[in-house]
Amino acid sequence: MTLLTIKDLSVQIGGTPVLQGIDLDMAAGQITAITGESGSGKSMTALATMGLLPQGAVAQGQILLDGTDILQTPEPALCRMRGNAMGMVFQEPMTALNPVQTIGAQVAETILIHEQVTKAEAHARAAAMLERVGLKVAPTRYPHELSGGQRQRVVIAMAIAMRPKLLIADEPTTALDVTTQARILDLLQGLVDEFGMGLLLITHDLAVVADVADRIAVMQHGRIVEEGATPDLLRAMRHPYTRALFAASARAVDLPPVPTDAPLLAVRNVVRDYPTKRLSLFGPRPTFRALNNVSLTINRGERVGLVGESGCGKSTLTRAILGLEPVQGGTITVDDAPVSQGDHALRRKMQVVFQDPYGSFNPRHRVDRLITEPFHLLDNPPKGEDRAKAIAKALKDVGLPPDAAGKYIHEFSGGQRQRLAIARALIVEPDLIIFDEAVSALDVSVRAQVLDLIADLCRKRPLAYLFISHDLSVVRSITDRVLVMQAGKIVESGVTETVFANPQHPYTQSLIAAAPQLPELAYAADAL
């Protein structure tokens, strides 16, 4: 039975077409996934279906939910439908919840808006719904007391409180860890089966799509380029973009062999405690141990991965290694010299590339000034002609034209910004680069290019790096050795392939089991 029919939907914002001729059919009790890269129009399709298009957007065509055209429905009637006939789950569960209301009250609110029931009854039903979504905490708790996965369960409970026919989930697991992601996807699948609702799943993660969706629609530049039942589509991808997308997700890069065995970075028994809230007025502050006796070494030219879920201490370790924060115990040495804030000669041996391609540059400086910032570490920084040459070389190394030097950062795309971040790290020719989730925010095709770039740089000169990521498949392809971190401790380490093929620690095993797998694709290799 058809639940949702989108017919020839086109949306323009300020004269720019953002959706063109979208046709989509969705059946009840099925999961339909829309996938594509950022800016392809996935979220806009979801918003149009909810009748939540941004101001100034002009829509044409039809969106029929059970025979009602959303585009022709006036706003008051849409308000009655939202939350009632259709529910929505957002990407970021923290911002989707009101921080000053208890979770029970927020779920009950949805019920109170749509039905004439007493408060007590609404709260009882809310509590039952929270239990149904597998939340094991009291409804009187506040959002900040919950973990990311628990919050997402609350958001889902709000969305399904009225048992809508259509549930739209926009990147519902993107902000979550792999093990949590697996559980949330399980929950969504269970709800679809139990309630017989249609789930429109918007996600960029092809492994998730291939895992859970009954039908897949692939979007590019505001159009659906390919659509079909999941097994059929995976077996025979007709559109080259679909193939390129899947190939880029499964991208494996060729790393040159590690040149030597000379140790470069040594972290020995490092402990990092953060003070937490005082429990009594004059008592000592309790501490939270973010790094618990962490030891690791990285040899010259060695590529080491560090995986673990959010809050496990990955970022704390990065900051400790870079000497940005003091440690409470243990030593961190580079070439046998201890790391400290003031030692410029030592610091130029280490650079860092951060996750957020938007936040890692000062928006008020030009590129030449941005990427030469580490020159501050040199006693005799190049000036005039030499400086210009160094800038041109750094830009060339990361595959950007020399005229990029005069531009501001907002003129670059996310992938280009990450290239600039790498250029900034490379300009003082460090021995070690720390990639802190450096490709996590990038689209798959751009990510594949940046990973290729990193492998290229390793071929040009021996470059050691610590590659921190929650994405196991990326770590698997770009590192020689991998460390697995849990709750401030390194629980497993070894040669990457060995660890992935034969994980020893139960935590590593659960991580690998939870990660959604891309199906094997026969022609993936020759598509890019």
Partner: protein
């Protein structure tokens, strides 16, 4: 460019222009009393009429603009010059004892009603334009310090600051190179608003006789002198009143317009 910005900039430019012109030329010398021609209505030889001493009101307004703008500008300069570095310093040492000392010091100044303390200062050190400047300036310091610290704190968490720290730059250098350019918009806007508040404060102090002393002209004093004559010659009170009103309005519109113009994220499309 928004309508606010154009109107605000226009009004501000007009009164600043009047003040600047007064250095070169005024229609009459305001230090010369001309009792026979007192309380003339606008029009004729005296465009805006004369006051109870027969002084030309247009010339008085021009000279008064000079006093008001000079006092407010220097006061804002004091507030910014001390407040912004204090705020940057507090943000750089966030969470430390120094941060607490600076911010609690600010709270202390904030705790007193500004005009009351200004009256106290001028009462102790004697009424003069300089003391008015100091009094108004002191109360601008915590405004800028708090705003700077508040705007700088989230910036310190950004990755580009971490990148600068990885490049070995110290807190002072990062504050000047990275933090300051990113909060400059905010400071310009707040500066404009404080400027308008400064003009109001100056007018209030001279109104109660604690600002610039005669024969220096000031809008507040003109108002005070004219208040008993409102029923006989309302224009004598209305004209300086409008001068204050329009300058403050112009500066506020300018601040508003500048904020929208400098920060495109806040631009609202009016339909």
């Amino acid at each position: 460019m928004s309508r606010n910005l154009i109107i605000g900039a226009g009004l501000t430019a007009f009164f600043t222009g009047l003040a600047a012109l007064s250095f070169l030329w005024t229609p009459y010398n305001i230090e010369v009393l001309d009792i026979p021609n007192r309380l003339l209505t606008p029009g004729g030889a005296h465009v805006l009429g004369t006051d109870h001493f027969g002084r030309d009101i247009l010339s008085m307004v021009m000279m008064g603009a000079r006093t008001s703008i000079a006092v407010a500008l220097v006061a804002v300069g004091i507030g910014m010059g001390l407040g912004v570095p204090l705020g940057l310093w507090a943000a750089a040492r966030r969470g430390s004892l120094l941060d607490d000392l600076i911010m609690r010091g600010n709270d202390l100044v904030f705790a007193f009603p500004s005009l009351v303390i200004a009256i106290l200062i001028t009462a102790v050190f004697g009424p003069s334009a300089i003391n008015a400047i100091i009094a108004i300036g002191i109360f601008n310091i915590p405004v800028f310090a708090r705003l700077t610290r508040g705007a700088a704190l989230p910036l310190w968490e950004r990755d580009f600051i971490l990148a600068a720290r990885v490049s070995g730059k110290g807190a002072a250098r990062i504050s000047v190179e990275h933090i300051l350019p990113n909060i400059a918009n905010l400071m310009i806007v707040q500066g404009t608003i404080q400027f308008s508040l400064g003009i109001l404060a100056e007018a209030a102090l001279s109104y109660i006789g604690l600002g610039a002393q005669p024969p220096t002209a000031s809008w507040g004093r003109m108002l005070a002198d004219a208040q008993t004559l409102v029923s006989i010659a309302p224009h004598v009170a209305l004209i300086p009143g409008f001068a204050i009103l329009l300058t403050v309005l112009g500066l506020n519109l300018l601040g508003d317009g500048l904020r929208d113009w400098l920060d495109p994220r806040l631009r609202v499309v009016r339909t």
